[in-house]
Amino acid sequence: MIALDAVHVTAWSPDPAGGADRVVTLLHPLSLRLDEPRVAVIGANGSGKSTLARLLNGLVLPSSGRVTVDGLDTARDGAAVRRLVGFVFTDPDAQIVMPTPVEDVALSLRRTHPDARERAQAARAVLARFGLAARADQPVHSLSGGQRQLLALAAVLATEPRVLVLDEPTTLLDLAWRAVVDDLVAGLEQQVVEVTHDLDAAGHADRVLVVDEGRVVHDGAPDEAVRHYRTLMAARASRVRDGSPS
């Protein structure tokens, strides 16, 4: 179970007027318990979704308050938390470390498969499950964006995390690949927390958080949350059109 207790995230930000750096709030104090199998996070660009997602595996640490996963504190037991919580970025190139798919998945398997031969076999088996068997030995850059995102997913899932956090995993993909990735994520046995701009995908979640200007402004069933978000965005669009953007 993921728990946020009075979590507050701030950052130094340069003063545009050239003065001293100011402290800005990225996420206002927030307490949450997430135990639904599928949680979606939606919100405008720059609203704080990624900050919230990154808190869950310690890529961002709270300035005050605590984030725990199964009782492990992300600040104190960061390495252990990251072993429990896998993270998928929007851009697969941010995720893939090795030059070929088989090597990249094998890297994930080093802890669980000390024997090199078994490890290579296991890596190929993982790639086969993701429809990438034929690509196992090709240079990663020869894969399409969708194939690379599948590889990124495969490499993270190969470490057998208990929770998977995805930060807009389909934003860079075309509709066909989006469907492939959505289906794959839907079939996972892990708890999934997914930041998404895809309101259809959010509609399938058990719980949807709407983030706006560093606050969770709505938290509930998908239909109502999506409606809330649409109203919010429509209001903002009309303010922008009237020349007074927030």
């Binding site: 890529l59 961002v60 640490l61 390495a79 090199a116 990438l132 399409s144």
Partner: protein, 238 residues
Amino acid sequence: MTPTPDGPEATGRPLRAPWSGPLGLYRPGTSPVHRAPGGAKLVALLVVTTLGVVLQGVPSALVLLALVLLAYAVARVPLRGSAGGLTATLLGIGVLAVFRWWSDGPAGAIELTADLLAAVLLAALVTATTRSDVLLDTLARAARPLRHVGLAPEQVSLAIALMLRTVPVLVVSTVESRDAARARGLGRDPRAVVVPAAVRMVGHAHRVGEALAARGLGEPDGPTPPRAADSHPLRSGA
């Protein structure tokens, strides 16, 4: 689910990814160099580099370089592709050679050039003919004694392997920063090249760190050591 192959491979000359240089890309093969144990290749790299430093004089340097070129021929890894990926490194060696010529004369310049070329080309050949998996295993085994001083061999080997793989990124970011500087008419200002290249390299290191953290890799077991109370409100965990 059967993803369609829609990569760029169908069209004429394939685009080369910026990091697919010889140090970044494994070239499958069955040559004796490919089949040689990873440890032997790393030892060879160590020996050639050390000999280059220790042995004085032009003949020994040329012999070392000849041996490396011979290894390329045996491995059937095209030197042209390798040299292309190492353009910036070769330019750097050229600059050093000119400097050495000015300080020590032509013999010194030739010796330096041959020694550096031998080391760089051999490093490229080792990574091009050794799977990173094997490289990691070999390095981890070599790093095992470090356990006694409190370093985890797996972490050390990962760091070294990633460092080897980072060389092309380093090279590419320098070349691209130089091009960008030229495009802005700042080609002669070293700051216009060095600063962006350094920023990109730090960015790359940070990205690799996050990529590993996303999979829970590259961190020692056990609790995170307590951090000093920091004055900065955003404590980046990566």
